[in-house]
Each structure stands twice: as structure tokens, then as C-alpha cells.
Amino acid sequence: MKPVYLRPKSLTETVSHYCPGCTHGISHRLVAEVIDELGIQSKTIGVASVGCSVFAYNYFEVDFQQAAHGRAPAVATGIKRVHPDKIVFTYQGDGDLASIGAAEIVHAAARGENITVIFINNAIYGMTGGQMAPTTLEGQVTTTSPSGRTHSVQGYPLKMSELIATIEGAYYVVRCSLHNPAHIARAKRAIKQAFENQIEGKGFSMVEVLSTCPTNWRMTPVEALKWVEQHMIPVYPLGEFKTGEGE
């Protein structure tokens, strides 16, 4: 029998702390598959953020730095400037990247830092127990928007890919989803492209990944995938927002 699918070598053997059905695990696996396929395991340095992915360094068999909340793009800048020949990626959630770290991601993009950003958007703060995120949908109930997010009170969801795509220094900005195997395959292609861009020195690449939080959404994992398709994608349309400088 020949293998059709094997566990990526760039993942450690550790059981993740993620809740059952959380698509963080899928994103991790895709990043690890890409690292394996590009043969860059021994030259990759990851930056973990604050939120559910705070322990990302336990799950990747590569060097890692754990950054303060929102500061992963600044930490990645420091690493990449010291080791321009190494592959540096951040792995950040929506609270980290779109809220407290909004300045750091915008300016890393503006500088055209030659790094890869994996941005997990699940429309909620997972680690702290389901509070409203900058990406929470209008009407979505969270523990700090108990009547549902209302734009007159809590403002509108922040569309980071659209925002970052307006920045001249950003080379590649794409939004994808993990709600079924076909979209997972597309997400992997996007992640691979984002790493290849860095290898080729093309500059700042960000892959926004629409993800689930079954626990804090109060749904089964399957219901959560369907919720992404039915409710998140209409607000956060999928696709490439920028492919190449100045486009």
C-alpha cells in the first residue's frame, strides 16, 4: 500500500490544547505540510501570538518565539532583519492582529517586511472565553455583546484583508476558508504561495483564514463549519485581494 496522506514531519507529536473540532489544528497542519513540501523546516522561525495560538511553538518542529499580544509582526521584523536568509512567519488570531496589534500589522505591511503572516479569523476571542472581537459579525452574540453586536454600539466588523490590500508594501493578501476539503486545499495553496513569496524575496504576504470556534460559538464542530459558510463568507468574501506589488 502506498501512502496517500501522511502526518507532516514539521508537526511535533504533541496533542494540541485546541478544543475538539477547532480549525486552528487544520491551519497548523497546512502550515506544517507547506514547510515540509518546501523543505524549509531547518530554516524556519515562527512567531506565536497571544490567544488560543499562544502555544503554537509546542506544535511545530521549528524554532519559535512567543510574542506579546499583537506584537508578532514587530518581533518577526526583528528576527527577519537579523536573519534575512531564514523563513519567518507569524501565526496570529483576530484579537491579536486586528485589535491590539492593528498598528504592528499595518506597519509591517507598509515596510514590505519579507515575512509570512497566517491570520486566523474566527470572529471571537477564544482563549479568554468568547468575548467580542473586532471581527465579530453584526448580530453575533458573544459574552461582551450579549444582545448581539450592533454597529451603533460596537461598530462594524473589521475587514483586515481589504484593509491591508490597500497598502503599497503588501505583496500578497488572500482570504480563504476551512469549511470543507476543497477550501482547505485552496487555503493550503495560498499558504504555500505566501511562503514561496518570502523565499523569492517578494515581501509581505498575509493569508487570512476563516476559522471556527465551536466552543465559544456554542455549536458542534460541523455546525460551526456550516456557520462559516453561511454567515462569515458573506461578510468576509474569499479570494485574492492583492497578488503582486502595486496591483
Binding site: 523546516q41 531547518s42 530554516k43 524556519t44 522561525i45 512567531v47 506565536a48 499562544v54 502555544f55 511553538y57 511545530f60 518542529e61 521549528v62 524554532d63 519559535f64 518565539q65 512567543q66 510574542a67 506579546a68 506584537r71 514587530a74 518581533v75 518577526a76 521584523t77 526583528g78 528576527i79 527577519k80 532583519r81 537579523v82 536573519h83 531564514k86 498598528a103 504592528e104 499595518v106 506597519h107 515596510r111
Partner: protein, 370 residues
């Protein structure tokens, strides 16, 4: 021996950092330290280094974190309000045990305060500032030459202990010009000597730079490990200078810019027969407790002079331990104590006109020197 060069403090400090092997600088403009990033933006590319003007002090210190974790000799500089913004990152650097050098050319606070020299950040620098149980190694230079020498030393000490080091200067040290000699020991940066750094895990298990330890037992052990390191620093790294320790009956205690003024006061008053000495802490943490405790056995009293409402004086009192009275004189907000004001204060103290508990405000009005 190299010839002395006349240089502005900020620029001299920047040059010293480069000669110490620093090749990475991340910073954000703020007065009165702008000559440091300006100098670095020109010089670092000449020596194969990297200068990045960050979007904020918050980003600067986190770029320092990344570069330090990647094994580089790295620094940033700022002034009081900017240093406050860096406190989160400094706590992370201390927690993750990353070596780096942070220059604080401090200015008057609180809040936006002013831009003139101040020593009001002593507590922030020496007692933490950020969250958690950590210490910075803090140097308080009192001349441009000393600032340069300490800058060179700071990178070595930071690497030796894997700990952030702060140079606590002030607008005066940064802005004045003095002759400086750069000792001829320019070094390369020493990335290869840091086996813990994240450089890509070629041929080894992955390295992780982190400060999160959710298991209380593990975090407790980590904190006591840091504590033992701080103990070793207290044992090995204390620096101070004493003047007329042998015959002095009364001691001024001051650091940085104020120590220079106190030195003039001391020399003038000694000529008039006053047995006055000076103790000048060079490391503000670790604080030179032992020498103060030692001279307290024979001293009639101490007068601590600062550009604050009284911060280092608390450490002086702790060190003296009640063996002799400790008086205080301070100016704030950019006002620099005048020699004649300090002299009057010394005479008041010696004449017994000044109780230990002092009404600072009344005494300080009009500069206290009229």
C-alpha cells in the same frame, strides 16, 4: 591610545554601541534622545547593520525582542514617556531572558511632562516598571565618557546574564558635548555564541523563546531561577565611586548629572574646611548598599540630591538602615539643582536646621538657594 574626540553625548553613546558590536537598532523619535536614532540611521548601514524606525515604542521594543531572540546584539533608545510604552516589552524580555540594551535619556514627568533633564524614572528603572518579578541592570553615567564606557560594558553584561540592561541618562548627558576616547577594542557581534537563539533548527532540536509558564510550579521555579541570577548580579556587578571616604563626616549621595554638580559643591566646601564626601552609585540596580552601610558607621549624616521628589533616597535610607540621618534635596521637571542651593542645604543640615522629615516644598521654593 586614541585621541579624544569632542562629541555630543547621544552621538557618542551610539558610536560606543557600534564599537561594542551592536548591529541592530529599532527606535522611535522622542526628545531629548533623537541624535541616537539619527546617528544610527547613518552609521549602522556603513558597518553592515540595520536601522529600523518603528511605528511606535511598543513596536520598537518588540523588534528588539525578536532580534535579541535571534541572537543579535541589539538596542533601542527613548525617553521617559516612550520608555513607559516599552515597559510591556521589557517585562517580556526579562521573562524570556533576552539580552539587549535600552537607553533612557529621561525627561521630566509625569505624563507628557517636559523635555529637560530629570531623574524621575529611577523607580521605574530600578524597581521593575513593567509587570512581574524582574530586575533590569541599570547604569547611571555622569559624563559622556562614562556613558560610552558603560555602553560598551552593557552589551557584555546583558549577554553574560541574558538580561536587559538600561542606561539611565538624562537630557543633560545626552545633549552636552565632552571629549571622549573610544577604547580600541571594537568588537563584532556574537551571534554564534548564543546556542539558545532562534536561528533555524539545523542539526538540533528547536529553540523556543517564551515567557509563558501556565503551570504554577514551573513559573515559580522560573522566578526563583531569575532570582538567583539577580542575586549573582548583585554580588558581581555593583559599581560606584566614593570621594573623600576616608575623612568625610558628611556625605552627599547623587548619580548622573546631579553627581557632577555635587562634586563641585564638595570641592568648594572642602576648601572651606567642611569634611564633605560623595558617594556616587554607578549601578542604580544593583544598588551599592554595602558601601553606604559601611560609611554609615562613622558618618554624621547623608544628603541625597536628585532631580526628583525623592526616589533613590529610599534606597539610601534602606542601605543606611537608620545608622545615620538621611536628608534629601530635589528639583524636578527639568530644573537642575544649583551648586549654591545644594551648598545651602548642606550647611543647613550640618547646622541642625533641617529635621529628617523635611518640608520639601518650603525649602525648595525659589530654588532654595537665595
Amino acid at each position: 591610545m586614541a585621541e579624544p574626540i569632542l562629541m555630543k553625548g547621544n552621538e557618542a553613546i551610539a558610536e560606543a554601541a557600534i564599537r561594542a558590536g551592536c548591529r541592530f537598532f529599532f527606535g522611535y523619535p522622542i526628545t531629548p534622545q533623537n541624535e541616537i536614532p539619527e546617528y544610527m540611521s547613518k552609521r549602522l548601514p556603513e558597518v553592515g547593520g540595520v536601522f529600523v524606525q518603528a511605528e511606535s515604542e511598543v513596536a520598537s521594543i518588540n523588534m528588539v525582542y525578536g532580534a535579541a531572540g535571534a541572537g543579535a546584539r541589539v538596542m533601542t533608545s527613548s525617553s521617559s514617556p516612550g520608555i513607559s510604552l516599552m515597559m510591556e516589552g521589557i517585562s517580556y524580555l526579562a521573562g524570556a531572558e533576552l539580552p539587549c540594551v535600552i537607553v533612557n535619556m529621561s525627561r521630566g514627568g509625569p505624563g507628557l511632562g517636559g523635555i529637560q533633564p530629570s531623574q524621575a524614572d529611577y523607580f521605574q528603572a530600578t524597581k521593575g516598571g513593567g509587570h512581574g518579578d524582574y530586575r533590569l541592570i541599570v547604569y547611571g553615567p555622569s559624563s559622556v565618557q562614562e556613558a560610552c564606557d558603560l555602553m560598551m560594558k552593557a552589551f557584555d553584561v546583558a549577554d553574560k546574564y541574558r538580561n536587559p540592561v538600561m542606561i539611565l541618562g538624562d537630557g543633560m548627558i545626552g545633549q552636552m558635548m565632552e571629549p571622549v576616547v573610544f577604547k580600541d577594542d571594537a568588537r563584532e557581534s556574537s551571534i554564534s555564541e548564543k546556542p539558545w537563539a532562534t536561528t533555524g533548527n539545523e542539526g538540533r532540536k528547536p529553540n523556543v523563546i517564551t515567557s509563558i509558564y501556565l503551570d504554577p510550579e514551573v513559573l515559580d521555579a522560573h522566578n526563583w531561577k531569575l532570582f538567583r541570577k539577580y542575586k549573582a548580579i548583585e554580588e558581581n556587578e555593583v559599581m560606584y565611586q566614593t570621594y573623600h571616604e576616608d575623612d568625610a563626616e558628611w556625605f552627599l549621595v547623587a548619580y548622573g548629572t546631579v553627581a557632577r554638580i555635587c562634586m563641585s559643591v564638595m570641592e568648594k566646601m572642602r576648601k572651606e574646611g567642611v569634611k564633605l564626601g560623595l558617594i556616587r552609585p554607578i549601578t542604580l540596580w544593583p544598588f551599592p548598599k554595602a558601601i553606604l552601610r559601611q560609611v554609615a558607621d562613622k558618618a554624621k549624616g547623608f544628603l541625597c540630591v536628585e532631580m526628583s521628589t525623592g526616589q533613590m533616597v529610599e534606597d539610601v535610607r534602606l542601605a543606611v538602615g537608620g545608622k545615620a540621618p538621611v536628608y534629601f534635596y530635589g528639583r524636578t521637571g527639568g530644573a537642575v539643582p544649583l551648586p549654591r542651593a545644594i551648598e545651602k542645604r548642606v550647611r543647613d543640615v550640618i547646622a541642625g536646621r533641617d529635621p529628617v522629615v523635611t518640608d520639601y516644598l518650603e525649602h525648595n521654593q525659589g530654588g532654595g538657594g537665595k
